[in-house]
Symmetry: C2
Subunit: 648 residues, 2 copies
């Protein structure tokens, strides 16, 4: 673990430069060949050469309507009220749509405008003009003309044109074949359905990158993880550089650590073109060319690996396969909080995006490169340019959407306190006829009130107890949201208490036991209702926060507190019963409290809020809440007034 054993990055370069350098180092014509495929299986493929029509379409003048074929100039005398009588075979022939126009005829009269007199006689009251309702030879396609140019990606519509023009097979560029090689001593093969022990992680990046590559229409193979043995990695990569692969992705080991062998492997088998990009996450990305093939080293952290794929490999795969680089729809959204950023590095920010009132709002999600769920939870990605030191709160961020813009109308944005019933709410919302996605940020009750003030959410969950009035939330709304018309609706009454290991080994019975110095406590973050509750009870019991070991250790959700208790990292923390029950822990009750939804009255009629209000009346929803344990639904869905307290 000394500096000498470590790799050193090549100069980190901007992403576009990294792509351009790699394109320059690759011979695309040699790398990807063309192949012939049947036309009807060619949707999505890219033509490697121009296609010219074999047949015309139509190949004959044909009737475009059911009716009679006539010679236009013989019908000119027909008038409303002065019908013209026509005789079959002599002056008309019946035709169905698609029939060839009989010799000498140049117009069709729709059956709706033909009066049948007898088997061989009809009358018309309007003249036909020449070529009326006739599809003329070559109207759609003329034999020998260019049907599609080279490098056109074949759409479903194009298949119809190709077949109609008598093109049964087409020459297209091969699909890009990708081999993904996970590496690392610590990674467990998901195929074996492992149970990770400390120090081990389940390998999943290969499947994320694989699915992304399949979305680009690549053919993807993945092999089981290769341990951190340089010779083994080199042997494996060398093997995969043979046909059919155009691209080999080595997962993890691309950094500059003492166990990162990817760079050395690429250098040995070919040339390292890029090592290190000026991006965050994604910095430890590697690109190289070995035996004419593209070889990439994707960072081990999931979000870094995704950025590496989307910003480097997606443009390169698109370029190799002659497709345009997929472009995401972009909207301008207001950032709900300040985000600092490092100068000289382009930063990618996962954003939870929704439409609140007339504007799009974007809330930055956790920035850790290890947080794969933030990619799942994000509706968009923002870029902080290399030359910026961050983005201020309420400023506009150019947001690349991960969903269609229209879908943002179906996102309910909630910011505030965390509660397990929000999970149930989220699931029930997605079960509606028009599914509604819940985007929730857990920043505590006070954070929710600030978000309402800032206009950055549809509603906020809060459970703020005011000892003076013995009421919930209203005193805080009055103080912090004096100018906003608010409707307060109860979600549930819930039980708060000390989450302790099974059997309560430290025998915690009341708040006094927390401060005996031997208990490792885990607190919630400032502004969390649970922390305010804890402070209130400490004060009531005359206990100083300084005497609580771990008072300064903070977590953001009940579940995070519970999982710390489960693993023995702490002895206890204050949280809701549902969190203890979920992880089969014990629970020492401290208080019951009201968890309400703070809703700006202006948003009451929005589809997002209406969906929630309807669900709060649903017996199924209430039953699911009760089933969690530690909840009461006696007030659920009721509009709160000051002074109700717990409604008892």
């Amino acid at each position: 673990m000394t500096a000498s054993k470590r790799n050193v990055y090549l100069k980190t370069i901007p992403l576009t430069e990294a792509v351009a350098k790699t394109q320059a180092a690759l011979d695309r014509e040699m790398l990807l060949r063309s192949e012939i495929v049947p036309t009807h299986e060619a949707a999505g493929r890219v033509l490697s050469e121009a296609v010219f029509a074999e047949y015309s379409s139509p190949t004959f003048h044909s009737a475009a309507m059911d009716g009679i074929a006539v010679t236009a100039k013989e019908t000119f005398t027909a008038r409303e009220g002065a019908p013209l009588r026509l005789t079959k075979d002599e002056s008309y022939e019946p035709v169905n749509t698609g029939n060839p126009l009989p010799e000498g005829r140049d117009a069709v009269i729709m059956i709706e405008n033909v009066i049948s007199v007898d088997e061989n006689t009809v009358e018309i009251e309007t003249p036909a003009f020449p070529w009326q309702h006739v599809r003329r030879i070559g109207e759609d396609i003329v034999a020998t003309e260019l049907l599609f140019p080279q490098n056109q990606q074949i759409s479903p519509y194009d298949i119809g044109a190709l077949l109609s023009a008598g093109i049964w097979e087409v020459r297209v560029w091969e699909k890009v074949h990708v081999c993904i090689i996970p590496t690392g001593d610590e990674v467990l093969d998901f195929e074996k359905r492992p149970e990770p022990k400390p120090g081990q992680v389940i390998e999943s990046n290969s499947q994320v990158l694989g699915a992304m590559a399949r979305n680009l229409d690549c053919i993807v193979d993945r092999i089981p993880p290769v341990p951190d043995v340089p010779e083994l990695l080199e042997k494996t990569v060398a093997e995969k550089l043979n046909d059919p692969y155009h691209l080999v992705i080595i997962c993890a080991g691309s950094s500059a650590g003492s166990k990162d062998f990817t760079r050395a492997t690429i250098a040995k088998l070919g040339e390292v073109v890029v090592h290190g990009v000026a991006a965050m996450p994604g910095k430890p990305s590697l690109l190289g060319v070995c035996k004419g093939k593209l070889v990439a080293g994707a960072p081990g952290y999931p979000v870094s690996a995704v950025v590496c794929f989307e910003e480097l490999l997606t443009p390169l795969i698109s370029w190799i396969s002659r497709k345009p680089v997929p472009a995401r729809p972009v909207v301008d959204a207001e950032l709900t909080r300040k985000v600092p950023s490092k100068l000289g590095v382009e930063e990618f920010l996962r954003l939870s995006v929704g439409k609140v009132g007339d504007k799009y709002v974007a809330t930055p999600l956790a920035r850790g490169a290890g947080c794969i769920t933030t990619m799942s939870r994000a509706q968009g990605v923002g870029r902080i340019p290399a030359q910026a030191e961050g983005i201020d709160q309420n400023s506009i961020v150019h947001t690349e959407l991960l969903v269609e813009e229209k879908r943002l109308d179906e996102v309910l944005v909630t910011v505030g306190s965390h509660d397990n019933t929000l999970d149930i709410l989220s699931d029930e919302l997605m079960g509606l006829d028009t599914p509604m996605r819940l985007a929730s940020s857990h920043v505590g009750s006070m954070g929710g009130i600030l978000a309402i003030k800032n206009g950055s959410c549809h509603l906020a969950g809060a459970h703020l107890f005011d000892p003076e009035t013995n009421d919930y939330n209203f005193p805080f709304i009055k103080k912090y949201l004096p100018d906003t018309d608010i409707t307060l609706v109860n979600l549930a009454i819930r039980h708060q208490g000390f989450i302790v290991p099974k059997g309560n080994p430290k025998n915690i019975q009341s708040i006094k036991d927390i401060a005996d110095g031997s208990i490792r406590f885990l607190n919630r973050q400032r502004g969390a209702g649970t922390r305010i509750l804890f402070d209130y009870h400490l004060k009531e019991a005359n206990i100083s926060p300084a005497s609580v070991t771990g008072y300064d250790k903070e977590e953001f959700t009940h579940m995070a507190v519970a999982v710390n208790v489960l693993t023995g990292a702490v002895d206890t923390g204050l949280g809701i019963f549902a969190a203890a029950k979920a992880l089969d822990l014990d629970f020492v009750p401290l208080a019951r409290e009201r968890y309400d939804l703070i809703i700006p009255t202006a948003y009451l009629e929005t589809p997002q809020v209406q969906a929630v209000l309807n669900l709060l009346q649903s017996p199924t929803f209430k039953a699911r809440i009760e089933a969690l344990g530690g909840y009461e639904t006696s007030l659920t869905g009721t509009i709160m007034e000051p002074g109700i307290g717990l409604g008892e």
Copy 2:
């Protein structure tokens, strides 16, 4: 062929109403079941139930960086210039990214900030704060918490979250299985690579609809065409109503003609829910429910079938499979010409869309429901609402894009005279490093000049001969574009003449032979340079247009003229040599002329025009033009000045 034999449409209803009626008639829960699939193969699938995490991630406090693990409070005295010395095992342990944090440690210092003294000693100059560079237990995922709600479509990112949470398989909604049944006596099975005779067409709709259904992730089977025998159709459909199909699409036969059996078939096997929608194209669409399955009758005309699929079946398939209906990106574009429309019917208009100057411009493509190539050529679709009688020229049309908005920057919009070299240009443009798509409308040379005036194209092709000055195009530009700064660049010199059948059976030698009464001539449309040329030569020879049989019959392109000659529909027409050669016809030369590109000087530096100007200098491009025959490239790429004529 009497009215009594024909079906009658049910009341035609708006598209949204047709979808709603069909949803009401279907039992979605019975129709589509759920199934279990391995997580790593689940990208794109929709969860049929909520997923809760099995494992936390990380499952342990772990190092987020390579470096040393320390206890934060033991490092508080470290300062720049006053390094703190730490001893291995006693006050630090080396860790690599991902390693579990050793017992008692609560922070990691990056290797870059650690000064190695000897094997067991390091120094630091900055204190660590608690939990610095540590990924805490459950930071990303907490066991038992909701990972994803029901009806969430699984993204590649989600696969990473699922595997990390120990979810090896997921319950998802089945894919929608579709059976497509082409029908009709006149249709030829493309699988047999047929050569259509008059009255026959190659069946291709099944493949267009099939590819569209696959794009919605359906599993699609298609059977060979079924002839127009009601009993046979009924037997076939009845068979396909069994598993595994959820949707049966009958292609063609959905109209009200005497040979349209689809409606009767559906009525016999179940219930017709919708027959006839207030849309154009697409009116003769049928929707029914048989044995709980959705059965659709798609119209026979390709564009009608596409509208039926996109406006009726796409929302229904999405609804059945619990996915949001795909929404196209929308831009506002200026319509380049007036489009009338029928009141009471929602009309779908295929549009060629490009960005000219600062605005998007949209040119309506041919409106025939039979023109499948217009779907291929369109970049967008406009809707004319049922209550509108059309859209005026230069008014704004809300355009649903068939391509990403960004791709519109890569469309070169040309309006004007048709020439076969434009095909070569189109192909070469798509071969560039940044491929450029040529969107060309053929409205004749004068039409091109008007488009330039209207600001609706980047350039216009014209070959307008002015007998007074013996010059090309300039006199017309001076007259019609007096206020526009124009750069005129030659594309090629080309040979115009009479296109005649092989062997010239009518022995046409000069323009005098055209007017002898026995020759069936085919003219070009008004405003076409070729028509102006013809008129000039008629006048020179003192021949009256009235004496030319077929002077009033118009076609829009040289190739269309040639194909009419080939099929014997006419004896001759005026056109370029390349068109005659392409169809192996003979050619009687009449004149040489200059075909130029009229370019507003303001657009000279746009990437679109630059791409063309560069190509005009390319020897490969010139060689391909020469190879067509009937072209000279002595002026190709040269900026024209008044008075140059043919440069001789």
